[in-house]
């Protein structure tokens, strides 16, 4: 029983973080059919913003809000710098510009801050533990689960109930048709990048909260996780991205518990083998995306 509670809490907290990461990536991919390779750097931006404002003496929540806003700005900047100028011209160009923007941001952090880890302020609450059914677990895990539930609910509300959300879902199916109904392309794309930045910023704070420091390459693992989760979930489905995040967290946590000590360092190899097996059975991913789709 205690084992079950421990396992469930671990899967849900890791899965919540993974799901938010995947959602941030897939919201842009769904509309543009382009992977934003600078996505991980949004998390880096949130981390370094925390580091830079750490001396200001502001309450932690205010600093966190500043960090998330910076991540949103970085997301919108990605659109303006890497996507908008070349979007209509060439897919390959966007692939390269988004890589370039990613490298640019990482090198800026290397050059102007430091290649070494920098300490990020964390609130007391992140290091506290809580007892659930006899199991002691970090309060951080519970915060992650609650944050994920709140954000996913908010996101579902936005996509189902607001005109902007409906327009974004429509644009993910057929962008040209959405534009022919008067939906402005640039607004939709910028909104997608802003939402991507919001999710990356918040999940970034939780992610960095696990280790307490930020390095220039911090975004690589979240990008990889988000990418794998969306591939498992089915690339173009928002629900699929969330599901994929939880499935990946289930695999990771399951392996953490079951692999013998000497094999643990090869955990990723086992994870990817399982991902390959899932894709052999379901090459399109677990969930199918919208029926039709054209790029613009």
């Amino acid at each position: 029983m205690r084992f079950t509670i421990q396992f469930v809490v671990d899967v849900l907290s890791l899965g919540g973080a993974y799901a938010l990461m995947a959602l941030g990536l897939v919201i842009v991919f769904g509309i543009l059919r382009l992977v934003n390779f600078a996505y991980g750097e949004l998390i880096m931006v949130a981390g370094y913003t925390m580091f830079l404002v750490s001396g200001s003496g502001l309450p932690w929540l205010v600093m966190a809000a500043v960090a998330v806003v910076m991540a949103i700005f970085a997301g919108i900047a990605t659109d303006y710098v890497a996507f908008r100028p070349v979007r209509a011209k060439s897919v390959t160009a966007v692939l390269i510009t988004s890589f370039a923007f990613s490298t640019l941001l990482q090198n800026a952090a290397l050059l102007f801050i430091s290649p070494r880890p920098r300490v990020v302020p964390l609130p007391e609450i992140f290091s506290e533990t809580v007892q659930i059914g006899g199991v002691i677990t970090p309060l951080r895990n519970i915060i992650t689960i609650i944050t994920a539930v709140v954000l996913l609910a908010l996101f579902a509300f936005l996509m189902r109930r607001t005109v902007l959300g409906i327009a974004m879902r429509a644009a993910a199916t057929n962008f040209t048709m959405a534009r022919m109904l008067g939906v402005p392309a640039n607004l939709i794309i910028s909104s997608a990048f802003a939402i991507s930045g919001l999710l990356a910023g918040i999940v970034g704070l939780l992610w960095i909260g696990r280790i307490g420091t930020v390095v220039p390459g911090i975004g690589l693992e979240p990008l990889l996780v988000a990418f794998i989760a969306t591939v498992i979930g089915g690339m173009r489905s928002l629900t699929g991205a969330v599901l994929g995040g939880f499935v990946l967290a289930f695999i990771d946590t399951g392996l953490n518990y079951s692999l013998p000590q000497e094999l643990l360092k090869f955990r990723d190899a086992f994870t990817f083998s399982l991902v390959i097996m899932i894709l052999l059975v379901r090459p399109e991913g677990l969930m199918r995306g919208p029926a039709s789709g054209q790029r613009t």
């Binding site: 005109v163 409906i166 040209t176 048709m177 534009r179 109904l181 029926a291």
Partner: protein
């Protein structure tokens, strides 16, 4: 109202539309006829802003609107129903209609009123309001895209092949609805392969062949023209 002059549309080296000039007066229903590949849809999509004109001009109520974005054309009162019955299959019928009123979204009462009007004109859509649009039949989807386009309360409607791939009785229904829209004072530019059907409702018509306007005149004149068949069959 709508005036197209010397329009040219290219796909790479291929000129799909050449020197096309046509005009549609307010309240008129003008048909654009021709065989497959004659350039009708390209002309229409270019007017809608979805394709770029490589030469020529498009004027709307005197204003030059050449190379305006699709969303810009909707804001200027031009609604487009493209050929492929592009419903958003994962969105419900109600969501599809709500999106059609995107440019008027702040005027909730007017949107609600327009929606009721459209649901009265297309009662089938009212019954299926909460169903995903992808589950509708072909005819119902065609009704939905027309109703959705009308949600923006356009002054001119561009209709591309509304009868394509539909059963004859459904085609009759669709044309009755086009007739109803037209008698409400809407200006319509109708692209059709089904010349007989289109000429029965149109005031005037243009016939396209190999990217050019091959013939123009009143619906009666075009119908009476003996070489209509040869225009279609490329003789």
């Amino acid at each position: 109202m709508l005036e197209v002059a010397g329009l040219e549309v290219r796909y790479g080296a291929i000129r799909a539309v050449r020197e096309v000039s046509l005009r549609v007066e307010a309240g008129e229903l003008v048909a654009l006829l021709g065989a497959n590949g004659a350039g009708k849809s390209s002309t229409l999509m270019c007017i809608a802003g979805a394709l770029r004109a490589s030469a020529g001009s498009i004027r709307l109520a005197g204003e030059d609107v050449t190379s305006t974005s699709p969303e810009g054309m909707v804001r200027r009162g031009v609604a487009t129903v493209p050929e492929a019955r592009n419903v958003f299959p994962d969105l419900t019928v109600a969501e599809n209609l709500r999106l059609g009123a995107y440019i008027r979204r702040h005027d909730r009462s007017a949107v609600a009123e327009q929606r009721d009007k459209m649901l009265a004109l297309f009662p089938r859509l009212a019954e299926r309001s909460s169903q995903p649009a992808g589950t509708l039949s072909g005819g119902e989807q065609q009704m939905l895209v027309i109703a959705r386009a009308m949600m923006s309360q356009p002054s001119i409607l561009l209709l591309d092949e509304p009868s394509l791939g539909l059963a004859p009785t459904i085609v009759d229904q669709i044309f009755e609805m086009i007739q109803a829209l037209r008698s409400s004072g809407l200006t319509i530019l109708l692209v059709e392969q089904n010349a007989a059907k289109a000429l029965a409702v149109a005031d005037r018509a243009y016939v396209m062949r190999l990217g050019r306007i091959a013939r123009k005149g009143s619906a009666g004149e075009i119908r009476a023209a003996t070489d209509l068949h040869s225009l279609y069959l490329g003789g």
